[in-house]
């Protein structure tokens, strides 16, 4: 991976949902450098989720280039894209991030199961998971707890640990703080960024909440980078 390449690069992307209600998303250009923390602001319905799906490779664009860590994901087969996602991207959702029936340890280690290269970077996965939990301010001995029994804030931090483990180049967070109160929100982000910087991971966070802007290196508005057309033919 050349160090000069951006962690994420979108160029002339055109996407249309096949066979669904007319919706078209076009992204002329988006670049995220390594180490960057970027907040992508957009109202609901602005195409944020579609953009994230494109970046994660669960959907592919009709034209244009979506490259993560220098690899154009359109060039990969569906199966390879799934593995590529596990290798390159750590994901945090808005809520219900975790498998509620599994314990914290299994939840954190789950992406490594599908990403051998990422797993290889972690010499002692359980120790690493434990260390991440501790730096994210989770109580000791939480590893054997059932994820579904944790508080929402704790669950989000476990999700952060899961995204961080194995230091993937890109961490995508889809409104991870919306279920948290204001003070917990900024504390959560501080912890996330300190870890992502330590691991030299890029963070792309999607939100509709502009109040968090000052904690990020860069703030992008959805309207500035993308164009959506709900009446596309």
């Amino acid at each position: 991976m050349p160090t000069t390449a951006p962690t994420l690069e979108l160029k002339d992307v055109q996407f249309r949902w096949p066979g669904r209600a007319p919706f078209e998303l076009s992204v002329p250009e988006l670049k995220l450098a390594a180490d960057e923390t970027v907040l992508l602001l957009g109202e609901s319905g602005s195409g944020k989720s579609t953009l994230l799906s494109l970046i994660c490779g669960t959907i592919t664009a009709q034209s244009g280039k979506v490259a993560v860590a220098g690899t154009d994901i359109a060039s990969l087969s569906a199966g390879k894209r799934d593995r590529f996602r596990a290798e390159q991207i750590g994901l945090i959702f808005q809520q219900f991030n975790l498998l509620p029936f599994a314990n914290v340890r299994d939840n954190i280690l789950l992406p490594l199961r599908f990403a051998p290269d990422r797993a290889a970077r972690v010499s002692a996965p359980e120790t690493e998971a434990d260390a991440l939990c501790r730096t994210l301010g989770l109580p000791d001995n939480i590893m054997n707890e059932q994820a579904g029994k944790l508080s929402v804030g704790q669950q989000q931090r476990v999700a952060a640990a899961r995204a961080l483990i194995g230091a993937p180049p890109l961490i995508i967070a889809d409104e991870p703080t919306s279920s948290l109160d204001a003070s917990t929100q900024s504390a959560f982000l501080e912890l996330l960024f300190s870890q992502s910087r330590a691991h030299r991971s890029t963070v792309l966070m999607v939100s509709h909440d502009a109040r968090l802007s000052n904690q990020f290196d860069r703030v992008i508005h959805m309207d500035d980078i993308a164009h959506t057309d709900r009446n596309a033919p």
């Binding site: 799906s53 994660c56 569906a78 994901l91 299994d106």
Partner: protein
């Protein structure tokens, strides 16, 4: 780890999963139970008579002859004469011969006249002999030896009087000549249990004052006068025959079947039993079919449960997908889950079966005279269990395919 997650997911849905497992376990238990009863019944059926080489009676069908002479079901269309009996007895090939005379009853049980040789020659369950449980074998002309079911049902004990009715389900009774219970036989699980056995002469004795199926009005010969009479029977119903050498069976059978003086029939009990079982076997096939349907129902129930769990598990599948699991991992997870459920269900069913057998074995034996042996699971049962597990896996592929499609469409974003 995936296996552990699958188990954790199953545990989290404990109640529904337990119900599904229980349904499969019960259906498997039913199926294997029917199998056990079937093989037990078949074995005990084949064990009803052994050691007898030929059964001889008036010419009818082999199954009919077997039914009335051994199972005491139905009636002889005709008797065979005492002369014919003696002719056969004198044949060189004949090692032993036991006459049987049927036609009268006591309550719901048949009365059989025979000689004491019957107790030596009649064998069941591969060569087991009849043994006396209580009292002695009939000794006097008016002594009766009764089967265990007769004693139990009617509450008889040694010394109790028995009045034999003429014919079956008849109101005319041989009241003048009451019998006395002299002995009660050990339970055998054969029709002997439901038989009142008296001497051949006794059958003649109770019919002394009878003609053409009715008592001659006003005539009643006292018992001590009867004792003085010649009670040689004119006819008997059938005879059990043993030959001197195995090779002589067919020759003797042919000579009896071709007996010129009277139309007779000699059958090999083993072959007639097989013929009879083929008739009874239709019910057996129906039973198996029904219990197989029950298993199918349970598996379809499991499929329905998996189907209905899919929508609430979309989030779970989306998380797996987001973490890099391919759609086929989702597919495998569901099939694995169903396989685990069916496997636990099948094994639990087997365990329940043995538990049930342990409890019910003596009950079935005393109620139906059917001894179901408790043996290690047979190869066949192993195949049944394996088929159930496989069928479970196959059936689950239908919801798994749906989950596969859903996870491809949903990706990692689920809007609920």
């Amino acid at each position: 780890m995936i296996l552990r997650l699958a188990f954790a997911s199953l545990l989290a849905r404990g109640l529904t999963v337990a119900m599904t497992i229980l349904a499969i376990a019960l259906s498997v238990m039913l199926f294997l139970g029917v199998e056990k009863v079937r093989t037990g019944a078949k074995a005990s059926f084949a064990d009803t008579i052994s050691g007898t080489d030929l059964i001889v009676g008036a010419r009818s069908g082999s199954v009919q002859l077997l039914l009335y002479s051994v199972f005491r079901i139905g009636n002889a269309t005709n008797n065979m004469t005492w002369e014919s009996y003696q002719d056969i007895a004198e044949n060189d090939a004949v090692d032993w011969i036991v006459p049987i005379s049927l036609g009268d009853s006591h309550r719901q049980f048949r009365v059989m006249g025979t000689t004491t040789a019957f107790f030596e020659r009649y064998k069941y369950r591969s060569g087991q002999s009849l043994t006396v449980h209580d009292g002695v074998l009939m000794d006097d002309l008016f002594d009766a030896t009764i089967g265990s079911d007769v004693a139990e049902t009617l509450g008889y004990s040694i010394g109790d009087p028995i009045v034999v009715a003429h014919g079956l389900a008849s109101f005319s009774e041989h009241k003048d000549q009451p019998f006395r219970v002299s002995g009660i036989l050990e339970k055998t699980g054969t029709p002997v249990d439901r038989t009142v056995i008296v001497s051949l002469e006794a059958i003649e004795a109770i019919h002394v004052d009878w003609q053409s199926g009715a008592q001659i009005p006003g005539q009643s010969t006292p018992a001590d006068v009867i004792r003085q009479l010649d009670l040689q029977p004119q006819a008997i119903t059938a005879a059990l025959v043993g030959v001197k050498g195995r090779l002589q069976v067919f020759g003797l059978q042919r000579s009896i079947n071709e007996y010129a003086q009277e139309p007779l029939l000699a059958i090999l009990p083993g072959i007639a039993l097989q013929e009879l079982w083929q008739i009874v076997g239709i019910a057996e096939t129906a039973l198996i079919a029904v219990s197989a349907m029950v298993i199918v129902t349970a598996l379809i129930g499991m499929m329905a449960t998996i189907f209905s769990s899919l929508s609430e598990r979309r989030r779970e599948m989306a998380i797996f997908r987001a973490m890099g699991a391919r759609p086929r991992v989702i597919f495998s997870l569901l099939v694995l889950e169903a396989t685990v459920i069916s496997a636990i269900g099948a094994l639990l069913g087997l365990a329940l079966l043995y538990l049930g057998l342990l409890v019910a074995q003596p009950l079935i034996d005393s109620a139906f005279g059917l001894w179901i042996p408790i043996t290690a699971p047979s190869m066949r049962e192993g195949w049944v269990l394996l088929s159930v597990i496989l069928a479970g896996a196959i059936v689950s592929m239908i919801p798994a395919i749906r989950a596969y499609r859903m996870s491809v469409a949903d990706g990692m974003m689920v809007r609920i």
